[in-house]
């Protein structure tokens, strides 16, 4: 272990910079979106940098990444970057290189330009059935299906403002989708099925019991096995018990599916950041193209596109028109499941005579 290399941390950021970033660090004055997917940044000295933003799949192979590297080598001095939302950005320093780069990207075919301005940009998402052990849905598949359908909004600027879509494949929300304009969330709807014969060997029973936020799990003896039982009436399918105890799986073809949430944002612009609120409690899993989910998201998006004022985010639009109007214009059903009944529920009730007929 003596010469083992540990705790070296990542490469320092400036090792990854091209010269023009190093030279202009902190000197930027303004930017402009020239066309969907193409940005120009200008420094105080008048230096111009052009960026082309391309859709990334997040889940990719080294082959695809090598394709990207090759383009960066050829046009961008061997440098490029990823954005927080899994997009890929290629940068060039003059318009001639820009045109060549754009052509190379078009030729590639797997690096669509877009994701700037008042658009649907790339969906941030989790692993789904590709890698996760607690998912209620797939991730990459629904993302592909939704982005295919909304492609016209990816590479255009025709929405009132940007729309951030996110996907998390279970309530753990590795993707922290809870502040998105539209959130796609995998949900379970059946209590855990319990493997009594192995539970005591695999799990710590007190930990399993303590894991439940509603105290629905109790110790029980079943067929002479020390195990637990779940009070189904108090189960809200959060899956925390399964995270703590693998003998309590929740996944079920008929139980699992998608909930859609709308109106969240993280930006502090104009209004304070907002949580996304429930729009559709449940849509069945429909692989491979997730048709109902795709269709419902389009319905919500188009209602927003038609109804919102320019610069108004989804949540700001809904707050302006009222939730009663949101359910009317989207023709989504408002059900008892939309009404909060968790710990802060009382703060969501309408303490006013103000409403729209």
């Amino acid at each position: 272990m003596a010469d083992r290399i540990t705790d070296i941390g990542p490469p320092k950021y400036d090792e990854m910079w091209p010269q023009y970033i190093k030279d202009n660090y902190g000197k930027w004055k303004y930017h402009e979106i020239l066309e969907p997917g193409v940005l120009k940044h200008v420094t105080e000295d008048g230096f111009e940098l052009f960026t082309v933003r391309c859709g990334g799949t997040r889940l990719m192979t080294t082959l695809h990444l090598e394709d990207i590297c090759k383009i960066a080598d050829q046009y961008c001095d061997g440098c490029f970057r990823f954005t927080t939302r899994n997009n890929i950005e290629f940068m060039v320093t003059d318009t001639e290189k820009l045109e060549a780069l754009k052509k190379a990207l078009d030729d590639n075919g797997n690096l669509p330009k877009g994701g700037t301005g008042a658009c649907v940009t790339n969906i941030v998402h989790t692993q789904g059935w590709v890698h996760c052990h607690t998912p209620a849905i797939d991730a990459s598949g629904p993302v592909k299906a939704v982005m295919d359908d909304l492609f016209e909004y990816w590479n255009s600027h025709k929405l009132p403002a940007q729309v951030r879509i996110s996907l998390a494949c279970c309530l753990n929300m590795c993707g922290a989708v809870h502040c998105s304009d539209i959130a796609i969330l995998g949900v379970h709807r059946k209590p855990p099925v319990i493997e009594h014969s192995h539970l005591d060997k695999i799990c710590e029973i007190p930990t399993a019991i303590a894991s439940c936020p509603t105290a629905a799990i109790k110790p029980a003896k079943v067929d002479d096995y020390k195990s637990v039982q779940v009070n189904a009436e108090r189960c809200m399918f959060c899956g925390n018990c399964y995270t703590m105890c693998p003998s309590m799986p929740l996944a079920d073809a008929e139980g699992d599916g998608i909930a859609l949430w709308v109106g969240g944002k993280v930006s502090n612009s104009r209004t304070m950041p907002m949580f996304s609120k429930l729009a559709v409690p449940y849509i069945p899993n429909e692989p491979p193209r997730w048709d109902t989910t795709v269709k419902t998201i389009r319905t919500i998006l188009e209602a927003y596109a038609n109804g919102a004022n320019r610069y108004e985010r989804m949540g700001e639009w809904i707050n302006r028109i009222g939730w009663e109007r949101f359910f009317e214009v989207t023709e989504l059903e408002f059900t008892e499941h939309h009404i909060d009944d968790y710990r802060l529920a009382v703060t969501t009730w309408r303490n006013s005579t103000q409403f729209k007929f």
């Binding site: 082959l63 927080t84 941030v124 600027h157």
Partner: protein, 423 residues
Amino acid sequence: MAKMHPTPMLDELEKGPWPSFVTDIKRLAEAGKDACADLLGQLELSYKDKEGHWKHGGIVGVLGYGGGVIGRYSDVPDLFPGVEHFHTLRVNQPASKFYKTERLREVMDIWERRGSGMLNMHGSTGDMVLLGAFTEELEPIFAELTAKGWDLGGSGSALRTPACCVGKARCEWACIDTQDICYDLTMEFQDEMHRPAWPYKFKFKVDGCPNGCVASIARSDCSIIGTWKDDIRIDQEAVAAYAAGEICANGGAHGPDTKLDIQADVCDLCPTRCMSYDGKKLYIDNKECTRCMHCINLMPQALRPGTETGASILVGAKAPILEGAQMSSLIIPFIPMEAPYEEFKDFVEKMWDWWDENGKNRERIGELIQRKGLQEFLKAVELEPDPRMVKEPRYNPYIFYQEDEVPGGFERDIKEYRKRHAR
């Protein structure tokens, strides 16, 4: 070429304009990667079953680290032996995710040889995520990575890999050096990242301005968000150019033909209405400004953040499990952020000490503050209460007083009371 499984459903995901991960993975399978072929096979089975097929974790890792590797095994290994083990390695990304291809190829080369060749660019927290390694490859991968200058990120009840927005590298609005802060914290707290020792996970994210492109306010236990104290810089000539339609609105976010209506779009949408426009000049009552970025977003050539910059520090964001989702809450309205960030790190150490001492197993710091009260937290980090910390003061009258706040203390004599009041 690896043994391909029929994937009629996944093949449907090769259609359409968005890049297809299926097509990409098939290509590497066809180039010989069994893991790719079997991953598609198992995913196809999930599409049929409508259930995932990965087993619950399993403790795997590299020597000396408590995290950075997530164990994963197939629950149908006989059908898909290429993904029997499918462990993940989190590789700490460079701040802001700039890459030189020569450096990135170091990782790609190792991963092509020793792993599945599949990866996430990037995971939700920010790491490069190498998806699918067999147990026996973990140590060699780690050795090769570190030899090339790459290290693993965080997982488990540890500091998670810090992340930041593009910052001063290519954004005119960055009020703080997000990349340096991110890198500095990462280096300073290597031990906290690699050796889980806390009640639960802890995330730093660094946003250069209140637009929050890295979503720190929703996704990090400690959000560092750039802001400024002085006045918004105004270029009145550019204001005139916007008014004349010579510069389009919102940096072109709505197309080049979108003219800005300064009164309607800027002044009337300002949340504090601290702006006015007399047809020639734009005026800002900066004292009333809450630095929301709306006007700056709409007129990037005319308006810029001030120059007395620093950060607002917010604490406690988390996803729903367990107590429900939280956003970060404003704890330090303004703090200077110049290397080596000592004042900030001092705050961090106090925060961690309190959490370490009081947090229950799997209790995020935001939940602990909820349970113990914001007051307790403020005492622990030695900050004075400030109305900026709340949206509004309490409306319930249930105030807890300490005994030393009340003259005469809490001890009273019922006999004395009864002298004044008959039973």
